[in-house]
């Protein structure tokens, strides 16, 4: 087995079974007792194959991925099953044996590269650490190899980038350095745990291309964990769908995409089919006129931004991170008074600063945040959270509030019993629904949604989007929808505003923006959104290099 030529990187014969996991059961400890997280899943991986593991959060995909290394997180335990990695029984191997394998023959790429690097060491030191530590090769040799890896991962200035510290490179670059780190000892197996989830679409494409190439070149087997189907379609040879810790379906990627068997898998696929027929509105409710904004007076983040938002429709603001989307929202809400220009509400200028606006003006513009976790006070019950706007804006008596609370809960399709719960007793989707209810309680004209679905799984996302659409129809609410996800944009918007580096690139109806001819940036943004076609990435790279 270990007669492999490390220089060329070709390992074993393609098609040999590398990893075999049988009937894996993993328990997790919560609420003072043990629960089964993974309930008897089998997994077989051959050399050179990439397996996609998908499922919602809580499906047990990360736990299973880690178990492939013979590792469980604190608070979990491997209860039964067998793990055979190239002849080594990882289930019963002593820690010392496992430590030899980890970082040399099995590598792990974590979701948040920024949190996984030691900020006090240079990148190259960390890249070669495991290879040198496991005596795979000499330090000087490993460093030369690392630079080659940087080059093949298309990192800028591959000879010198390793001398930088983690905070001196971007998130996408850091994720690629981490892939180089995993590759450095030429492992047989790499486990990618949502490696591109934290990146925006344009960066994601670069990282995906780099990772796919390097995995192919060294004939490495990989497990790719994600909840994004379109991404996994580009990476994996075959896909395993997990739900509630059980396997739903496993098939080759193409087969899985074209003819999924199980209803659950089909429902995963259908999320992206959601599409709202666009409506052209002409009664402008919010109008941003020539706004310049800056943080701390010095750094200008918005330049001459003009956006019109018609009543009762959804305007999606798209752009990569740093394009000024959220800053625009802060200007509208008054959190960041603009340096120049003004915001008109129903034709009247809103006072620039939050403290100069009256209660009614505040009530009419509500906000829903990306992270529902931090948007709700963890020490207040759902009832307290939702009833505060009722009391604050509408001066309702306790009886009126009680009745209205029940109504609101019905609107967001949650049971009344949720009213007594604290936020940490809710799931991600439920939390976001409560935030929506809080915004609705104010009875607003406009709701600003700042990436409200980007932290959620596809199915939960779909539920939230449908809810928002229904509420819009019923109450004629206007949404300003900030997002970087084009699938969400097609699902919900009437009009689209494309932003780039603090400027509006274009604004128009969805059908206009999403059809050619595009300005350069819109083209780049749209083409970077992964599609459910396994050949999409190949075609894209061909097209871009041409």
């Amino acid at each position: 087995m270990s007669t492999k030529n490390k220089k060329s990187g070709a390992k074993g014969t393609k098609g040999d079974i590398l990893l075999e996991m049988k009937d894996i059961v993993i328990d997790g400890y919560s609420d003072e007792r043990w629960h089964e997280i993974v309930k008897g899943v089998d997994l077989t991986l051959r050399r050179g194959e990439v397996m996609g593991l998908i499922g919602e959060s809580g499906a047990g995909k990360s736990t299973l991925g880690l178990a492939a290394m013979g590792f469980v997180k604190p608070g979990c335990r491997l209860t039964s099953g067998s793990i055979d990695f190239d002849g080594v029984d990882l289930m019963n191997a002593p820690e010392s044996k496992k430590r030899q394998l980890w970082g040399s023959r099995i590598a792990y790429v974590a979701q948040s590269a920024a949190a996984s690097f030691n900020p006090a060491h240079r990148l190259i030191e960390q890249t070669v650490e495991s290879a040198v530590g496991h005596a795979v090769r000499e330090e000087s040799e490993a460093k030369v190899d690392a630079r080659e890896l940087y080059a093949s991962l298309q990192l800028p200035d591959p000879d010198n980038i390793g001398d930088r510290y983690p905070h001196q490179v971007s998130g996408g670059q850091l994720q690629r350095v981490m892939t180089a780190m995993a590759m450095s000892p030429r492992p047989d197996l790499i486990i990618f745990d949502e490696p591109t989830t934290a990146l925006d679409v344009t960066t994601q494409v670069e990282v995906l291309v780099a990772m796919r190439e390097i995995v192919e070149r060294f004939n490495t087997a990989a497990i790719y964990i994600t909840h994004d189907l379109a991404v996994v379609a580009q990476m994996a040879d075959f896909i395993k769908v997990l739900r509630y810790g059980e396997e739903v379906e496993e098939a080759e990627t193409r087969k899985m995409l074209t003819e999924p068997k199980m209803p659950y898998t089909k429902s995963l696929w259908s999320v992206r089919a959601l599409e709202k027929p666009e409506v052209k509105g002409d009664d402008i409710v919010i109008s941003i006129k020539g706004v310049d904004a800056a943080y701390g007076g010095a750094v200008k983040v918005l330049h001459d931004v003009n956006i019109d938002v018609p009543r009762g429709s959804t305007v999606a603001v798209v752009g990569e991170s740093g394009s000024g989307k959220s800053t625009t929202a802060r200007v509208i809400t008054g959190l960041l008074p603009p340096v120049k220009g003004e915001v008109l509400f129903n034709g009247e200028a809103l006072p620039n600063a939050l403290k100069d606006r009256n209660k009614d003006q505040l009530r009419r513009i509500q906000m829903i945040y990306q992270s529902a976790d931090t948007a709700m006070n963890p020490r207040q019950t759902v009832a307290e959270i939702i009833s505060r706007p009722l009391q604050f804006y509408h001066d309702m008596s306790s009886k009126q509030r009680e009745a209205r609370l029940v109504e609101l809960m019905k609107m967001i399709e949650l049971d009344e019993t949720f009213l007594d719960r604290l936020p940490n007793e809710l799931s991600g989707g439920q939390k976001q629904r409560i935030c929506i209810a809080r915004a609705l309680a104010a009875d607003p004209d406009v709701i600003i949604c700042d990436e409200v679905t980007s932290a959620l799984d596809q199915i939960v996302q779909e539920g939230i989007l449908k809810l928002l659409l229904r509420l819009q129809k019923e109450f004629n609410i206007t949404y300003l929808f900030i997002t970087h996800d084009i699938a969400v944009v097609t699902a919900i918007s009437d009009e689209i505003v494309v932003m780039f580096q603090g400027e509006v690139v274009e604004q128009g109806l969805k059908s206009e923006i999403l059809s050619p001819p595009y300005p350069d940036y819109t083209q780049l943004l749209l083409s970077s959104v992964p599609e459910m076609d396994p050949d999409w990435l190949t075609q894209l790279t061909d097209a871009r290099s041409a």
Partner: protein, 305 residues
């Protein structure tokens, strides 16, 4: 403040339901509490009972003088009498009342001052924060005990000046802690959401931030409470603390300290001055057991195995 009143009357039907669950939760917590927490609770409750019912529990009056000073332990005087013939046992009981009462008042006052200023500084983050923080720096630069001694000799040593001076000096530490932990909370989206809603400073402080910084504050409360004790005891020992004939544990140690040298002739005589010291120690341990338990419960440590 009519706004406040309507809030407290909020959803009466719902409130009853919630309150019961809160009580149940408390009972479950108590049942699962470790032995140390039960020990701490028992000690504190016992002290409080003794302090409350001191005149009933004590056999004699607080300042009642008997003919024999330094009397040995007997059935008449359980722990003997002190240097001018007052019953030590009685004074221990009254000491609980004075010492705990004053310590509690001082700690509450210092938390009211330090806590509210710390919160304002954290929310405001402008020149106000700078002024508060620098004043606190200056106050903290002067050794506490010496500063307290100086202020007490200026303003006179009454119970009230004692309480206010120790509270103000202690509030500097509370201010720093409150400000530091609040800074992590004020950046949360729910605080921004409250600002966007148009909430005033009071609401943001009390409803949004305070509940979320409570665990470290309560822990600090337990510690500060004990330190106030020790400060009062040492001030009393130096003679500027609680003035005679009011019984307090610190001065009782000082007044009878000389008895220790008789250990070789009469063990019980030597123990007498140590009794009030032991009373302080036991309460300190008890309070800290409770605080530890509370911290453990709220920090989520129990989920790690």
């Amino acid at each position: 403040m009519s706004e406040e009143e309507t809030y407290s009357a909020a959803g009466e039907v719902g409130q009853v339901k919630m309150r019961r669950t809160a009580l149940q939760r408390m009972w479950i917590d108590l049942k699962n509490a470790p032995f140390s927490a039960w020990f701490g609770l028992t000690v504190v409750v016992a002290y409080l009972l003794v302090a409350l019912f001191a005149p009933i529990v004590a056999p004699y009056g607080e300042a009642q003088v008997f003919p024999a000073p330094y009397a040995p332990w007997s059935a008449e005087h359980y722990f003997g009498t002190d240097q001018i013939g007052r019953d030590v046992y009685t004074r221990l009981i009254f000491g609980a009342r004075n010492t705990i009462g004053i310590a509690l008042m001082t700690t509450f006052l210092s938390f009211a001052i330090g806590g509210s200023l710390g919160l304002i500084a954290a929310i405001n983050r402008s020149w106000l924060d700078q002024i508060f923080s620098r004043v606190v720096d200056v106050l903290m630069a002067i050794p506490g005990l010496i500063f307290a001694l100086m202020l007490l000799s200026i303003f006179g040593s009454t119970v009230w000046t004692l309480v206010v001076i120790i509270a103000v000096l202690d509030s500097t530490r509370v201010f720093r802690l409150t400000r530091a932990v609040s800074l992590n909370v004020v950046v949360m989206d729910y605080v921004e959401a409250a600002h966007l809603r148009g909430e005033g400073l009071g609401w943001v402080m009390r409803r949004e931030i305070l509940p979320n910084i409570l665990p470290p504050l309560v822990a600090e409360f337990g510690l500060r409470f004990c330190f106030v004790f020790l400060t009062i005891a040492s001030l009393s020992f130096l003679g500027v603390g609680i003035q005679p004939p009011t019984a307090d544990w610190g001065s009782m140690v000082r007044e009878n300290a000389s008895l220790i040298q008789f250990a070789q002739y009469d063990m019980t005589a030597a123990i007498t001055p140590l009794l009030p010291a032991a009373a302080i120690a036991l309460l300190t341990v008890g309070v800290n057991f409770i605080v530890d338990w509370f911290l453990h419960k709220t920090s989520g440590l129990r989920d790690e195995h």
